[in-house]
């Protein structure tokens, strides 16, 4: 702001302070310009690289982007709901595009679960069982990774590296390996998502354990409790609400993760979505998008509501 005009009126001490301030802002400005410059340079290089290596050239393709969306429409909007609920289509011509009734899962009599609802159920189950397995694994491992429980020795080091490795190992490789051994199916997806979840939850869990109040643990130690008892009665009751909250957050993320894993061979809704899109079945595709959208919003809301009940607003830290 326009302070420089009045510097002549200042006494020497203030002048010195002002000089320092000016120098500081100049250094900061230099750093900001440098950061933006470097980011800009990197961005430009990255975009150029992406443009060159994309098989359809970026700028040439942009005008046609909306062509795809405009051409990719069902015969009439109601078709989407026919595809969603497996109702017969008036356009049926025997081709795969209109075979909505195929894939009904009959429970009893005439009552059936439509195909996409069933696949969504598979995906939700993959997500939930993986979160459960990952949560149990993370729960067991996290106490051995906390400095306040095992010290800073070899145990902590080894367990933390294991957790990091589990977290960073590419999920598609686990899925791909298991698909090759077990053949296509949801178990490969369960294993892939579970292994990642052990690492991700383990990290969040041990951070919560390290932030726990140690007074309860000290009291138990004074009364002669062993390590397992101290953890069970001193630490677990404190961190359980946080653990549950992270667990729910992870369940939410895993619904998305298992959709994606499904698309690379894990089964469930991801697989049927990839198929219907690549076969140009517009009504089916939009039906699945609608179903996925509603499910994900519902899961988000449910888990958000549960978490707010458990630990209040602090449950809304980011974390993926």
């Amino acid at each position: 702001m326009s302070a420089s005009a009045s510097t002549t009126d200042l006494n020497p001490e203030s002048k010195q302070v002002f000089e320092h301030y000016r120098q500081l802002t100049q250094t900061r400005r230099l750093y900001s310009v440098l950061t933006i410059g470097i980011l800009g340079g990197l961005l430009f290089a990255a975009l150029w690289f992406a443009h060159v290596s994309n098989s359809g050239k970026f700028l040439d393709r942009i005008p046609y982007f909306f062509d795809f969306v405009l051409n990719f429409l069902p015969d009439e909007p109601i078709e989407i709901f026919r595809a969603l609920f497996d109702l017969p289509s008036p356009y049926a011509d025997g081709s795969l595009k209109y075979d909505y009734e195929e894939g009904r899962h009959y429970l009893f009599g005439d009552f059936y679960i439509p195909e996409y609802f069933y696949e969504m159920l598979v995906t939700l189950n993959i997500a939930f069982i993986s979160t459960l397995i990952g949560g149990i694994g993370g729960f067991v491992l996290c106490f051995f990774a906390s400095t306040n429980l095992v010290g800073a020795g070899a145990t902590r080091f080894v367990v933390r590296r294991i957790l990091e490795l589990l977290r960073a190992f590419p999920e598609i490789v686990i899925a791909g390996l298991l698909v090759a051994i077990l053949s296509l199916g949801p178990i490969a997806a369960v294993a892939a998502v579970s292994i990642h979840t052990v690492g991700a939850l383990g990290k969040l869990f041990f951070e919560a354990v390290e932030n726990a109040d140690m007074k309860a643990e000290e009291g138990l130690r004074a009364a002669g409790a062993n390590w397992v008892e101290r953890v069970r009665f001193g630490i677990v009751p404190q961190v359980l609400p946080n653990f549950t909250s992270y667990f729910l957050l992870r369940a939410e993320i895993n619904v998305r993760a298992s959709t994606i894993i499904g698309a690379v061979g894990g089964g469930g809704i991801g697989e049927v979505f990839r198929l219907s899109l690549s076969r140009d079945h517009a009504a089916k595709t939009y039906a699945i998008i609608l179903l996925l959208f509603v499910t994900i919003v519902a899961v988000d809301q449910l888990s958000g509501w549960l978490r707010r009940k458990l630990v209040g607003n602090q449950a809304f830290e980011f974390g993926a």
Partner: protein, 446 residues
């Protein structure tokens, strides 16, 4: 625990902490109910996913083979029985090079001897007869016009099917004996020809020889220096495709970087519209927040597949998918952060007569910028991982290459190589992002 407390004290404690000692039946039962539900659910999942069926139908023999393939390689010579002699053949592009003369195959007159790890385990091939040594014991496999015959009292590692005798030497390899030929799979530890393939003049040379050649010595190729020849040969290694792997890895990194950066840049202004305390219009707040929800909830997978259809496979589809999803996520997080800013600073700036834009610039942005940058960094790091997966559904990058390598079923060593590169990148980016974030918002910024 032997410590005793008096009766009075006990009653006193019981009354004081009544909520601990007198839990409602529901509270007492809760742990059991939860454990029971989890167990029931797991049993349900066991049947829902037909785990027993899948496990029993699994090809476990393949599992061992695939795992071994990560860290080992095979040479596959075969001996063909011709009318007059035995012909030793190697497949084209054999990792052993053009004129291999491996020490585990020796020739003595008309008899070829192949050893598997030790002299105790070997085969000797001659016209009409293959002698198999398993742990020193001798088994003779006669070869008639139509079939190879399993001898009496053969070792359990030998088996016969359709006139073909197979012998397994464990990790070291196996052999298939037919009436027309003997095929050998000989396995070795390590990654073969990792630096130079047999087509390269550097192939088969020791590290010191290679370095010596690179910096001194005659030009191997008159068109270029030895160093550039070495680099070219390394990058265009036919077996490991280093250049292609690096390019694809760079594509994945670029997808995460550009996608997250664009998302952060767009989410920044939009978050100001979505924040209740900054834009005083309930309609705009609501619309903008639902827009964020929409971008977030249409999954990254859907965006990735959609953009792959419209842009064609390649990093641009990946960039767009990450950009769309994370504009939603970052926008939501940013607008929540904005709604939690300290109002005192805004009031201060307002009180000296600043315009509305200046109030935001000097009263709000300095408070939230470190947090915004930290969150963007966090997503940059986590997107590096997601970019691998969406790459596999068609958005290009290392994910697609991984998937292709896995589909062949024989290139697991390449998969292992790419996994190591990915892990390295993720760890390095994790460290950079953690370091920058702790500088921005202090150590408790997780």
């Amino acid at each position: 625990m032997n410590a005793q407390i008096s009766e009075d004290r006990r009653i006193e404690l019981k009354e004081k902490y009544a909520e601990v000692f007198h839990k409602t039946p529901l509270q007492r039962a809760l742990p059991y109910v939860v454990s029971f539900s989890i167990l029931t659910y797991m049993v349900f999942a066991f049947f829902f996913f037909n785990i027993a069926g899948v496990i029993s139908g699994a090809k476990w023999d393949r599992a061992g083979l695939y795992m071994a393939d990560w860290v080992s390689w095979q040479a596959t010579p075969k001996f063909r029985f011709k009318d007059d002699a035995i012909q030793l053949q190697y497949p084209r592009f054999s990792p052993l090079g053009e004129n291999p003369n491996p020490e585990w195959i020796t020739q003595n007159g008309d008899v070829y001897r192949v050893t598997f790890g030790s002299e105790q385990n070997a085969i000797e091939v001659q016209q009409g007869l293959v002698t198999v040594f398993v742990d020193g014991a001798v088994h003779e496999v006669d070869i008639t016009k139509d079939a190879a015959l399993l001898p009496q009292g053969a070792h359990s590692s030998m088996s016969e099917r359709n006139g073909r005798v197979r012998v397994f030497f464990g990790f070291e390899g196996n052999v298939e004996i037919r009436n027309t030929q003997v095929r050998v799979w000989r396995r070795f530890w390590g990654w073969e020809n990792f630096f130079f393939d047999p087509a390269s003049p550097y192939w088969g040379k020791s590290a010191t020889e290679v370095v010596g050649l690179m910096f001194s010595g005659e030009r191997l190729d008159p068109d270029q220096s030895n160093i550039s020849l070495a680099f070219n040969n390394f990058l265009h290694n036919a077996e490991w495709q280093h250049l292609d792997v690096f390019v694809k890895l760079l594509q994945t990194i670029v997808m995460a970087f550009v996608g997250t950066l664009f998302a952060a840049v767009l989410a920044f202004p939009l978050a100001f519209i979505a924040a209740r305390n900054i834009t005083m219009s309930k309609t705009s707040n609501w619309m903008m927040k639902r827009f964020f929800d929409f971008l977030r909830s249409v999954d990254m997978l859907i965006w990735a597949l959609f953009f792959t259809r419209s842009f064609g496979p390649g990093p641009l589809a990946g960039i767009s998918a990450i950009f769309f999803t994370d504009t939603g996520t970052l926008g939501k997080l940013y607008s929540e952060a904005l709604e939690n800013v300290d109002d005192k600073q805004r009031e201060g700036v307002k009180s000296v007569g600043a315009s509305p834009a200046e109030v935001q610039r000097y009263g709000v942005v300095p408070q939230v910028l470190p947090l915004f940058a930290s969150q963007a960094l966090y997503f940059w790091e986590s997107n590096t991982r997601s970019a691998t997966i969406i790459g596999a559904v068609g958005a290009g990058g290392i994910g697609l290459k991984l998937l292709e390598a896995m589909r062949t079923g024989t290139d697991w060593e390449n998969v292992g190589y790419m996994v190591i590169l990915i892990l390295l990148v993720v760890f390095v980016f994790d460290a950079i992002s953690n370091n920058l974030r702790s500088r921005l918002i202090g150590n408790d910024g997780h």
